[in-house]
Symmetry: C2
Subunit: 521 residues, 2 copies
């Protein structure tokens, strides 16, 4: 080993391309083992198709085909009926990491990073050395067939071939054909589970899933496409000083009022004037003439003025009905409860939490509760141990709701949780998008949702337990009736049959009266 001094080290320094970084760290994107890698590919393709259809307000029909070619090698085809992609953007959208239309905005969508499908294509070429074929049309013009790879060292697309075909039928959408190493399994954390849960969370989508074992069609169960979430501006309470400075420096606004009212949400003219007054800055000043110190004061002033919380209509929840429906498709429970919380804010980003609980029925009496997680209507299956959802359940005291729970653990009993997190920006713990980071505001809100659902569940469980106790008391009494009859007959000589019937009648009547009293009749 040669000793390195500062000069030696300097010679070795160079830039790392984003693609190189994620190629070497492919587990960050969800490609650390064969089973998960295949799931990640499918997830990226489906999420992308659903987003594209949603943006264009098209009822999505998505075809996914996975066929085994040889050991650990699969051919994957995805096809959607979305808006397609403009010719000159195709190679960049799919051949460059950190490139896309969703990052620089605040709007609820499945993808945001501009990594997803490009990452899948990179994994495909890493494990097979093969190019990916993209077929696309916007419906108005020709069908483009592009074979491409990614130049990893440059993080740029490399087009191998490009053909155009007539598009007489006006087809629009995107079809992607690739090969990759993987393993196909069904059961827990499988593609099948992902597709099934996706179908439940997106009941207006038709998904045709042609897998190595069978072909399954998930028909759409409603024609009602949910209202599209709106894009919003950041809320002043959550904006960090570093980003605020950049907004000010880049701003072309006439004055501070104009900046505050147009580049932020929930700031009206009066609030803007009040912010300037508190910050001791003339509201007629042009933003890009402010000094560092003035910007800092304005930033602090913004947080002192009372403003309305972020808009609540920018998010698209599943809704309490769909959550119960989803749970019912998972298990035959005996009781279901669901809660949609109001919109809350972390780092200035609106989000909302929905919680569902299934109880009893087919669920196992013993053992830990189970958990289904969704983020912006996408099922997430891995890294549960690292997810804000799990932390929220663990930090909730389930003994208050009648369940046993040791500290730092899931509650025990026949419980299945579902937690949906919807936000204009989901803070995933890694680029593989499998767990939600535990920002304090998020965990707090999840716990409130769980407590609300927990209280409702507890009422049911308590009533059920009371009824059970009563039944046991009744059964014990009934068991002693013959003995009592014998004793009374010995003492008084009253007819045994009549006595038995009378006692049984009284027992039944009492039980009924008690039940009616409880039900408030």
């Amino acid at each position: 080993m040669v000793k390195n001094d500062a000069e030696d080290l300097a010679k070795k320094m160079r830039e790392v391309s984003v693609a190189e970084f994620f190629e070497k760290n492919r587990h960050l994107l969800g490609y650390e083992n064969l089973t998960k890698s295949l799931l990640t590919i499918i997830k990226e393709l489906v999420d992308n198709s659903l987003d594209a259809a949603n943006e264009a307000e098209i009822t999505p029909t998505i075809k996914i085909s996975i066929k085994q070619i040889k050991d650990n090698r699969f051919k994957i085809i995805s096809e959607d009926n979305g808006p397609g992609m403009v010719e000159d953007k195709i190679s960049y959208a799919f051949g460059k990491l950190l490139y896309g239309s969703k990052f620089h905005r605040l709007r609820q969508s499945r993808g945001t990073q501009g990594i997803g499908v490009s990452g899948a294509i990179m994994y495909s070429q890493l494990t097979t050395g093969k190019a990916t074929k993209i077929i696309s049309s916007t419906g108005k013009n020709k069908i483009h067939e592009i074979e491409m790879m990614i130049d990893v060292e440059k993080n740029e697309p490399k087009i191998i071939s490009h053909n155009e075909k007539d598009n007489e039928k006006g087809w629009h959408g995107i079809k992607i054909i690739m090969e990759a190493e993987g393993r196909y399994t069904e059961g827990k954390q499988s593609i099948l589970e992902y597709v099934r849960q996706t179908a439940v969370a997106n009941p207006y989508a038709k998904i045709i899933f042609d897998n190595p074992n069978s072909k399954i069609v998930f028909e759409k169960v409603t024609n009602e496409v949910p209202v599209q979430p709106k894009e919003i501006k950041p809320h002043p309470y959550g904006i960090e000083i570093g980003i605020f400075r950049r907004m000010i420096n880049k701003s072309n606004s006439r004055n501070i009022i104009s900046l505050l009212t147009t580049d932020f949400s929930r700031v009206g003219r009066n609030s803007a004037i009040e912010i300037c007054r508190i910050s001791k800055i003339d509201h007629k000043r042009k933003p890009n003439t402010l000094t560092h110190d003035e910007i800092d004061r304005l930033h602090e002033g913004m947080k002192k003025v009372k403003l309305i919380s972020p808009a609540t209509d920018v998010l698209s929840p599943l809704g309490e009905n769909l959550i119960k429906e989803g749970l019912k498709k998972e298990v035959k429970g005996e009781f279901f409860v669901s809660v949609t919380r109001p919109t809350a804010v972390y780092r200035g980003n609106p989000f909302l939490v929905e919680v569902g609980i299934a109880y009893g029925g087919d669920l196992k009496q013993e053992g830990s509760a189970q958990l289904i997680r969704l983020a912006n209507k996408v099922p997430i299956l891995y890294h549960q141990g690292d997810c804000a959802t799990l932390e929220s359940i663990i930090e909730t005291d389930w003994r208050r709701y009648g369940f046993s729970q040791s500290s730092g653990s899931m509650p025990q009993g026949p419980l299945l949780f579902l937690i949906h997190f919807a936000s204009v920006w989901v803070p995933y713990t890694s680029e593989g998008k499998q767990a939600i980071a535990n920002y304090p505001d998020i965990v707090k809100e999840m716990k409130l949702g769980l407590q609300e659902a927990g209280r409702k569940l507890a009422i049911y469980v308590r009533q059920k337990n009371k009824l059970k106790e009563k039944m046991i008391r009744k059964q014990i009494f009934e068991r002693y009736i013959p003995e009592i009859v014998d004793s009374i007959n010995d003492l008084t000589g009253i007819d045994k049959k009549k006595l038995k019937e009378d006692l049984e009648f009284i027992t039944k009547k009492n039980t009924k009266l008690e039940e009616e009293k409880e039900n408030g009749k």
Copy 2:
């Protein structure tokens, strides 16, 4: 909400800079809450200083100062005695994400990504709007004082000021001064815990830790700087086809033999000829003339030839003694065991696992086992739920070693685990470097280490339990001696005192004999 067609979407597409990406996703770097953010900053600074000193073979002395300025705002100063940095590299090394000397090599080090300190500076300016000051000299020339920020949209450094000072004393090293939002706590998952564990894992380093509550000096306890790990070439078994193609295409080697023997580790001339023979390719061919198909064949051929495993001297383990010492500093246990596994391979990268277990003593009899995790001698404190170390413990059957354990959980009992993972490339689950991805080869190796340590522990626990049973039997017998004496005295009239002494002597002798037998005397 306006409907977006393909043209609308195309207009919104653009590149995202790496810095923008991590600024918006700062939780990926470990900056999701105040407490953890402050820890992440300190960790990046210390890891960087230790790496620099190691590269230059300098015994490190590191000063860290954390002082509270106001609510949630801290001034952080770090200073090392490393080789320093060449003037024109300072701003890039600390002002550009994905830039550094460690990414494009395979060598055990704490940092690799070229994100760490740049990320801390980005978080500093995001939360305070302030510049960071870097003071550096290589010892041979002047002291440079650079005030800088990061242009996030370009991912480029922005120098605010640059001063030079005379360096009469020949000082070398790097001093960094920044402000950031944070919260200082002591206890679990704290900076203090991180620094303490770092001192244990790096006993040749002196660390002066000046925190808001006290000033603690961790003196070095040895002058022996461990042998520096070597840089290695990739092993043919782990190289993916995508990367192999790139190596071939870029190669200037005369022929395939030259490529295989110089750009890979563990391939000698004979193995190289054998690889070519199996792949049916003339070994005199120039690599960059090979067709796609030929490269694929060569890639498959490489995996069929028997090659030696990656070199074992490229990794720097803690060693079994240091692991026990480390555990002893954590707890007063009654039994300690440690295991250093031989080198293994995942994705062609050599790695090794070390396992330590402390048992009994002050450790709590009830409740789950605890876990200390280290990667390349760096303590990792967060995201345990998502770490290959935890998964390995959970998947090991501890009931075989005498502990209770419910499925999917840590074993119960007075146990403290330590797992150290050393590799030329640590696959962290996120850029915040807090958990190791569960590649199957890694989990397997960790389980083997745990089993080996578990077996040794089980022998001790079993002996202890046997001894305990024997003591109980002895005590019971002793308790009955008076009654036996009375009975025998009644029957035979033998002197009670003498009889009692005799019986007690026999009991003692038998116990002693049994013990000697067990100890093999």
